[in-house]
């Protein structure tokens, strides 16, 4: 009997793995296609049937980092010959790089990317920290109207951002927070906090109280037991919450568009602006998207084991 079960289980396992592979391919093929577009010559980006094999080039990335403009007349051969290789690539694509005096003009991509990093990292850190302690507070201590407060926290995420944007914008102008990193950090923290509290509370509830109580009896203070017993157990939850908050802050579009200008604007509103004029240059958008996904992907990959470990302590729940 046992043998039958285990061999049946093995078959099931194989079927499941096969299914995972099929679904993964279906899910990932659009991504592969975006990623490969980032290395395609422009003319191959929109072919039907799609081009799978091609000579990869890095021109899309050169385009991404420079400020370019459409050529209105053919470039002088002498100028072309004298130009550095990366500028020649741009000429080949029918564009030229703008110059300020003798220097080539870079695009805003690097700046925006830095802004994105600053804003997303700091706001994620604050949102997750606050969310963790608040979730602990709600999970362990009684509070009058607890359910209502939790619902209030949840409700802060229900209003569409476009509605909040106008009053926030006016408020920020009065306080002087518009077009600043701090302003965006505060906004994203507020935005992610409800999610962070709710998710962390789910995890906190799973951590048995018995462990803490034992620690308290052993002479720990409540704070010590929080830091030494609860936090290590909550790592999974913290990792998952951080990943989600980071992703949200990293990709936020509406507020970044309206609240910020040159100084603090993040990358998401920038990438679609690379569509080019007259014709969409998919290769540049793909290149911008590809580079922009790397930090989140790396962050997620680093935390993958925590994401998968689940809530280990559920076992001793009665």
């Amino acid at each position: 009997m046992a043998v039958v079960t285990s061999s049946r289980k093995k078959v099931w396992n194989r079927v499941a793995i096969a299914a995972v592979i099929v679904i993964a391919i279906a899910f990932l093929s659009p991504l592969y296609w975006i990623g490969s577009t980032a290395f395609k010559p422009r003319s191959l980006a929109t072919t039907v049937p799609p081009t799978v094999f091609f000579q990869p080039e890095i021109t899309p990335f050169i385009k991404l980092f420079t400020k370019r403009v459409q050529l209105t007349k053919p470039v002088d051969p002498a100028v072309y010959a004298a130009a550095p290789w990366y500028e020649q690539r741009i000429y080949d694509g029918g564009e030229r790089i703008l110059r300020v005096g003798p220097n080539i003009q870079l695009s805003q991509y690097p700046n925006r990317f830095m802004n994105s990093l600053i804003v997303a990292i700091i706001s994620t850190f604050i949102a997750v920290s606050m969310g963790t302690i608040t979730a602990y507070g709600f999970s362990r201590f009684k509070m009058a109207g607890e359910a209502d407060w939790l619902f209030f926290i949840l409700s802060t995420r229900m209003l569409p951002p476009i509605v909040v944007a106008i009053p926030m914008y006016l408020m920020y102008r009065v306080v002087g927070l518009n077009d600043s990193h701090i302003g965006l950090i505060i906004l994203y923290t507020a935005f992610n906090l409800s999610f962070s509290v709710w998710l962390m509370k789910g995890f906190m509830d799973e951590i048995p109280k018995e462990y803490e109580e034992a620690a308290l009896v052993d002479g720990y203070t409540r704070m010590q037991s929080f830091f030494k017993i609860v936090l290590p157990e909550a790592v999974t939850g913290i990792a998952a919450t951080s990943v989600f908050c980071f992703i949200t802050a990293w990709n936020e579009y509406a507020f970044a568009l309206i609240m910020t200008n040159r100084r603090a604007q993040t990358t998401p509103p920038f990438i679609p602006s690379q569509v080019g004029s007259g014709l969409i240059d998919w290769t540049v958008i793909a290149a911008g998207t590809l580079l922009f996904i790397i930090p989140v992907a790396v962050f997620t990959f680093m935390l993958r084991n925590h994401l998968l470990r689940g809530v280990t302590f559920g076992a001793i729940r009665k």
Partner: protein, 299 residues
Amino acid sequence: MAGLATLHPSSKAAARGWSDLTIRNIFIIPTIMFLIIFNVFPLIYSLGYSFTDFRASVNEPVNFIGLANYRELLNDPRIWNNFWVTAKYVMVSVFGQMVIGFGLALLLNRKIPAKGLITTLLMLPMMMSAAVVGLFWRLLYDPSWGPLNYVLGLGNLAWLSDANLALYAVAITDIWMWAPFVMLLSLAGLSAVPQHLYEAAAIDRAGSWYTFFHITLPLVSPLLLIALIFRTMEAFKTFDIAYILSTQPTTELVSIKLYKFAFQEWQTGKSCALAYIVLIMVLAITNIYVKYLNKAKER
């Protein structure tokens, strides 16, 4: 003061360091204050203007017009169409995400080589900005320059120009982007189900359906419901993807209408009123979910 959870206030442990009450207040109050400051102001602002004919784009006196905005909106069949479209969209897309996401989690919840890598890769869609996803899927769907129809052999199927199909095309994109979110939360929940419960079930010769419905599902349901709550709320707010993919009247979600009122036509008062109607609806729906969530947790 309501009694604190675990310890008697007069016990020795509670007396060391900060009191539980202090800790609770330090842990909870800043968050609540912060959220109040950053949400109550916009809420009051919007509520106030929802009773006026305020237009942010012009310098004209603002008049109090009572409930006229609400009356006008609720009597407008177009707005009801927006709500109907939104309801359909939320149902299709959230259902799809829950089924695919949870299904994937069930499949992945076993020993699989390179599981961490596979999970990370599967999460890539939700790591992109919605605007970019919208742009690329518009290209994907196009029969003349996108690969999708070619790969699936669908010929000239006009995904986004067909009034009936367009909403599903938008939902498919949203499912593609957010099913991984449900998958991840489900995985976290699934790995929390203690192995010995399954073993016990196997000894009792419980069928796999029985095991699933009586052991797996109840234990996963709190996290699953959190996923459901957040996905429903977000689906109600879907804007970028739908706006970029299609502008058919059959895909005009209420958030798109809201955007048009607020930022194209600058009918600020009216947009605030619509926002409030939406808010009340989402509050009501979420409330029902939360009740279920609390029930699920009690089990």
